[in-house]
C-alpha cells in the first residue's frame, strides 16, 4: 500500500512523519554499520526536508512504514544541484519543470534484507510504481534518482536502478549514485513485477495517523 505525505502537511500527521524519520534513521544506522546512538535523527533530517517535498511511503499489511522516498522539483533547490555543486562534473545543473528529483530512499532493515526480502521487494516495487504514476499525473518526462550506494545496490539487484547519469559522487563520505528514469511504461515495467497485484492501493493519511494515535 502507498501513502502520499505532502511535506507541508507534516504538522497534521506528526506520528506518521516521526515514523518515517525513524525508518530513515534505522536505515542510516544499518548502512553506516554504526552502533545505536551513533547516528541521531538530526543527522538524517536534512535541509531538503525543510523544502516541503512530497513523500511517497510504502505501507505494509500491518500499516507500518517499510519504505520512504521524497520528491522535489528540479526547478527549485535539490540535492543534485545544490549539495553536489562543488563536486558535480562540468557544473552539472539539471533544471526543468518536467523533471523531478527522488532522494532519501529508505527501506526497512536495509542490512538484514535476506530475511525480509519479500517485504523489501514489495516496498521497492510499490514506491517505483507510485513514483511513475505521480510523475505521469504531473506530466513529467523524467525522474532523477539520487541514492546512496546501499540503496542503489539494492535497486541494481532487483533490476530497477535506472540508467546511470553521472559517475558516483561523494557527500559527507558517502558514495552517491545518480540514476535516470524515463516516465512511462518502461519505468512501470521495472517496478510493477516487484509490487505484486493490488499492492499499490492508496491509503488515507488520516486513517494511518489516527491508528498511530490509538497506539496501534
Amino acid at each position: 500500500m502507498i501513502a502520499l505525505l505532502p511535506g507541508e502537511s507534516r504538522a497534521l500527521f506528526p506520528r506518521l512523519a516521526d515514523e518515517m524519520y525513524d525508518l530513515r534513521l534505522s536505515a542510516a544506522r544499518a548502512r553506516l554499520d554504526r552502533p545505536l546512538g551513533a547516528v541521531s535523527r538530526l543527522s538524517v533530517v536534512d535541509y531538503f526536508d525543510s523544502l516541503d517535498p512530497l513523500y511517497v511511503l510504502a505501507i505494509n499489511d500491518a500499516e507500518r512504514i517499510v519504505g520512504a522516498l521524497r520528491l522535489l522539483p528540479t526547478t527549485g533547490v535539490t540535492m543534485l544541484n545544490d549539495a553536489f555543486a562543488a563536486s558535480a562534473p562540468q557544473s552539472l545543473r539539471i533544471e526543468s519543470p518536467l523533471i523531478w528529483e527522488a532522494s532519501g530512499l529508505s527501506l526497512e532493515a536495509i542490512e538484514n534484507c535476506q530475511a525480509q526480502e519479500k517485504i523489501i521487494d514489495r516496498a521497492v516495487g510499490e514506491i517505483g510504481v507510485a513514483l511513475n504514476e505521480i510523475a505521469q499525473a504531473a506530466a513529467l518526462t523524467h525522474v532523477i534518482g539520487v541514492f546512496d550506494s546501499g540503496a542503489h545496490r539494492l535497486l541494481s539487484f532487483r533490476g530497477c536502478a535506472g540508467e546511470t547519469l553521472t559517475p558516483p559522487m561523494s557527500l559527507d563520505g558517502e558514495e552517491i549514485c545518480v540514476a535516470l528514469y524515463e516516465v512511462g511504461a518502461a519505468m512501470d515495467a521495472q517496478f510493477s513485477y516487484l509490487a505484486g497485484a493490488d499492492a499499490c492501493r492508496l491509503v488515507n493519511l488520516a486513517n494511518l495517523e489516527s491508528a498511530r494515535f490509538r497506539g496501534r
Binding site: P6, T75, P97, A138, E163, L180, E182
Partner: protein, 263 residues
C-alpha cells in the same frame, strides 16, 4: 510566529508595491501563448532591491477587474489551492466542501472564467515559491489530451516564472549556457536524427537523449525541443566550438512568438 511578526507582516503587505511590471509581463505572455485567465503569485522572489518583497502577484484582465471592483486581493483561495505543494492541482479535484475552495470556484464562475482550471506550484532555485493558476477552457485544450495540456501548462508556467525572475532580479543565478551533452543532442536534433540515433551518438539510451534535450529546452526557456533548436541556432550557440555540418546549412527561422506544437 511572534505578535510583532504578524504586525510587521501586515505593515509590509500594506506597503507592498503594486508591481505593475508583473502585469505587463503577464499581458505579453498571454498574447504570446493564447492563454487567458491566468493568476500568478510568488513569495520571496529575488529582486534587485534591498530586501525581498514578500509577495509578488499578477492576474489576467478578468481577475484584475474583480480586484479593482472589490478593492482588495484575496489570496486565501490561491494559497489553499496548492502553494507549497509540488504537483499540479486540477481544480476539479479540489475538495468542494471546503468553503475557501467554494469561494475560489464561485469567483471564477462569477467572472465567467469557468471552474475548469489547473494550479501549478513553482519552486525557484533562490528559494522562492510561486503558484501559476490558469483556466484551461479554450486555447486549443479541447483537442489535446489532459496529459498534453498539463505538460504545456507546466512549461508555460516555468517560462513565465523565468521571465519574471529575469525582469525583477538584478542578477540571474541560472546559467543558460548549454552543457556539452545538451549541445550535442541539439546539434543532432537539428540534423533531424532520431532519438535512438542521438542516444547512440552520445553513448547513451534514447531516453537519456530525450532527457538532455529536455534540460536544454528548459535552459533556453523554449516551449518545445524544436523551438530550443531554433533558439540555439538563432543565438549562435549551437555551433560554438564546432563546425556546422555543411556550408549550405540554412539556419532555421526564429519563431515570432511561442509555438506550442508538440515536439
Amino acid at each position: 510566529m511572534y505578535c510583532e511578526d504578524v504586525f510587521d507582516l501586515i505593515d509590509r503587505l500594506a506597503r507592498a508595491d503594486r508591481r505593475s511590471i508583473l502585469n505587463s509581463f503577464l499581458d505579453e505572455f498571454l498574447r504570446a501563448t493564447d492563454l487567458a485567465d491566468v493568476a500568478y503569485v510568488a513569495f520571496n522572489l529575488l529582486t534587485g532591491v534591498v530586501g525581498r518583497p514578500l509577495l509578488s502577484a499578477a492576474c489576467g484582465p478578468s481577475w484584475r477587474k474583480l480586484h479593482v471592483q472589490s478593492g482588495r486581493v484575496d489570496l486565501g483561495p490561491l494559497l489553499r489551492a496548492g502553494l507549497g505543494g509540488i504537483a499540479p492541482v486540477r481544480w476539479g479535484a479540489l475538495e468542494r466542501d471546503d468553503p475557501i475552495i467554494r469561494k475560489l470556484l464561485g469567483e471564477a464562475l462569477e467572472l465567467d472564467v469557468d471552474s475548469n482550471g489547473v494550479s501549478i506550484p513553482l519552486r525557484g532555485c533562490d528559494g522562492e515559491y510561486a503558484l501559476f493558476s490558469v483556466c484551461v477552457r479554450g486555447s486549443g485544450a479541447s483537442e489535446m489530451s489532459r496529459h498534453a495540456v498539463t505538460r504545456r501548462l507546466m512549461i508555460a508556467s516555468a517560462i513565465f516564472h523565468a521571465m519574471v525572475r529575469r525582469g525583477s532580479s538584478a542578477r540571474d543565478s541560472r546559467s543558460d549556457q548549454l552543457m556539452d551533452r545538451e549541445l550535442a543532442c541539439l546539434r543532432l536534433k537539428a540534423l533531424r536524427k532520431t532519438d535512438d540515433e542521438i542516444g547512440l551518438a552520445i553513448g547513451a539510451s534514447s531516453s537519456a537523449a530525450r532527457f538532455w534535450m529536455e534540460t536544454a529546452r528548459a535552459r533556453l526557456d523554449a516551449p518545445t525541443v524544436d523551438a530550443a533548436v531554433q533558439k540555439a541556432v538563432g543565438t549562435g550557440s549551437m555551433w560554438r566550438g564546432a563546425e556546422p555540418p555543411c556550408p549550405s546549412f540554412e539556419p532555421i527561422r526564429l519563431a515570432a512568438s511561442i509555438d506550442w506544437r508538440e515536439r
